[in-house]
């Protein structure tokens, strides 16, 4: 018995070898940059010269002087508030509709998934730009329907929504996840509920939703993290304009870092993004005990 334990232990040390690549990667490409960006955020640094320590100057400028930052922060939050729930609600709705014995479900699942393939690709961003131009096909369609034309890209009140639409258009991957989760809900639960005489609506709220909350939660967190860092669509479609109405934090970060070469200042922005993400994640986690239903499974 004793020898067996020792033997296992010896073998288990092998695990460290297997995770070594990750450990190196983590230290070099995740932990070091993470710490370094915090350090840079207290410096003035422009790659050509060494970073010089300036204390809290960057943060003070960011919060007290730089109106553009506040605007970007607002734009990013609005973007997140539009896209994340928009995407998830639509995904859930369609998944629920499709979660029936229907013919051709696979075909539709495929079709719905296609836009998600392109993610933040430039190709689709360019397509969006062309479609939503003043003389583009969308406005032509509106005219054909006798509706007034909209300045999708030129109106500062609307441009952000045009970009949000591109994001929401890609709800397919969340939908496929939800659909898979819905199929996993044990039928026995519904049968039991039916015996108790529960209504369909009640079943939905008391069984379906609780069963898939972990998935919703996972999606919510991941989508929020992504939305808070979005860059490509705003960069390609509107370049942050008009009037900075689509100037998301990701773009601000890029411009400060790689256009103005204020790497220290940009690092401060990146830390603000990080802290926002932490806070949002914390809040979501904290609230999750209230609404996310966890099965008991703890292997680690």
């Amino acid at each position: 018995m004793k020898t067996k334990v020792r033997e296992y232990k010896k073998r288990d040390y092998m695990g460290l070898i297997y995770i070594a690549p990750w450990l190196v990667g983590f230290l070099l490409l995740q932990l070091y940059p993470f710490i370094a960006s915090l350090f840079y955020s207290f410096t003035q640094y422009n790659i050509m010269s060494e970073p010089t320590f300036v204390g809290l100057t960057n943060y003070i400028t960011l919060f007290k002087v730089d109106n553009e930052f506040w605007n970007s922060l607002k734009v990013t939050i609005v973007y997140t508030i539009y896209t994340v729930p928009g995407k998830l609600v639509l995904a859930l709705l369609v998944a629920l509709l499709m979660n029936k014995q229907m013919k051709g479900i696979n075909l539709f699942r495929t079709i719905y998934y296609i836009p998600s393939l392109f993610g933040g690709s430039v190709a689709v961003a360019i397509l969006w730009k062309l479609m939503f131009m003043d003389d583009g096909v969308i406005n032509a369609l509106l005219t054909a329907l006798h509706l007034p034309q909209v300045q999708w890209l030129g109106n500062p009140d609307i441009a952000l929504r045009t970009i949000c639409m591109l994001e929401i258009w890609q709800f397919g991957s969340s939908m496929v996840m939800f659909l898979a989760a819905l199929k996993q809900v044990p039928q026995s639960l519904y049968e039991a509920a039916q015996i108790d005489g529960a209504s369909k609506l009640r079943c939905f709220f008391k069984i379906t939703i609780p069963q898939i909350t972990p998935i919703i939660f996972f999606n919510l967190i991941m989508q929020t993290i992504n939305a808070l860092q979005s860059f490509t669509s705003a960069f390609v479609i509107t370049k942050g304009g008009p009037l900075k109405s689509t100037y998301v934090l990701g773009m601000k970060l890029y411009n400060e870092a790689f256009k103005n070469y204020k790497l220290g200042y940009a690092s401060a922005i990146s830390w603000v993004i990080f802290i926002i993400i932490m806070i949002v994640t914390l809040l979501l986690f904290r609230s999750s005990t209230g609404w996310v239903y966890y099965e008991d499974s703890d292997e680690f």
Partner: protein, 283 residues
């Protein structure tokens, strides 16, 4: 109205809804395809989907890129030279690391696993600047190393996590019996677990391929010279100023750019769907 007709109406309404939304979903892509055959005048202010004539000239012309001596042949080669090794390295390294986490109880494992999960939420934004400066000091700017090395070093916690989840589903008895037969840990991984993990590896590979292929920000930052440009960068270049944009050419190249993903998706749909469904389930 009896129950049967009611469900029937319900089902019809559902179908109509799903079909209408489905059309909205794919219409842009279909429109993109037909736009490649249209002159600018035909594109603007028109709702017509089908072009007045079909000719491949926009593809031929667009392929040449911006008059430069780089063609899309180069850009495609560059893209695959960047994407394929990145994908393969990601799968290889993540599988090994996942094996380490899923099958061994080494000291500090819990803590390290928590770190792994924590990095899942580490935003790229916060590490990109020091990474840039790091790669710059290594002389890696304008090479594909900023893509290969993170893949080799398994800095994609998402895939590790996904593979761990998958591996947990494989019975441990397999390992045990192999150990009894005198196999070493690597043999167990290579001969026993890896073949069983094929579907999960394939899914992970597909996603990594897709994400790297679509990537724009990292290419924008790390790649400089046109001879190393990837398709994303080349497409952005095609919106060049100082000439009139020929949208059919731009759309032709944009369409060609998304085509590999569409083809891949139809060939490997099962893995896409499985990949998505399994990753989320226990998150």
């Amino acid at each position: 109205m009896n129950k049967k007709t009611k469900t029937k109406i319900n089902l019809t309404l559902t179908y109509i809804f799903i079909i209408v939304v489905g059309i909205i979903m794919v219409y842009p892509i279909i429109w993109m395809f037909f736009t490649t055959f249209k002159e600018n005048a035909e594109i603007f202010g028109s709702t017509k989907l089908l072009p007045s004539s079909y000719s491949l000239s926009s593809f031929v012309e667009g392929w040449k890129s911006n008059g430069g001596n780089q063609t899309y042949t180069n850009f495609f080669i560059n893209t695959f030279v960047m994407v394929i090794p990145t994908t393969l390295l990601t799968i290889a390294s993540c599988a090994v690391v996942a094996y380490g986490f899923a099958r061994f109880k080494f000291p500090g494992k819990k803590g390290l696993f928590m770190l792994l999960i924590a990095t899942l939420m580490l935003p790229n934004a916060v590490i990109i600047i020091p990474r840039y400066s790091l790669y710059n000091s290594f002389g890696w700017i304008d090479t594909y190393l900023p893509f290969y090395v993170p893949a080799l070093l398994a800095t994609y916690p998402f895939f590790i996590f996904m593979l761990i989840q998958f591996m947990r589903g494989l019975p441990r008895e397999l390992d045990e019996s192999a150990y009894m037969d005198g196999c070493g840990t690597f043999r167990v991984f290579w001969n026993i677990l890896l073949p069983l993990m094929k579907p999960a590896l394939f899914s992970a590979g597909l996603f990594q391929f897709m994400w790297t292929y679509n990537d724009y920000l990292n290419s924008l930052i790390f790649i400089n010279s046109t001879s190393r440009y990837t398709i994303s960068l080349a497409l952005r270049l095609s919106l060049d100023s100082e000439s009139v944009v020929q949208w059919n050419k731009v759309m032709a190249m944009a369409f060609i750019a998304v085509l590999p993903l569409i083809i891949l998706f139809f060939l490997a749909q099962k893995y896409f769907v499985e990949g998505i469904s399994t990753t989320g389930l226990k998150g």
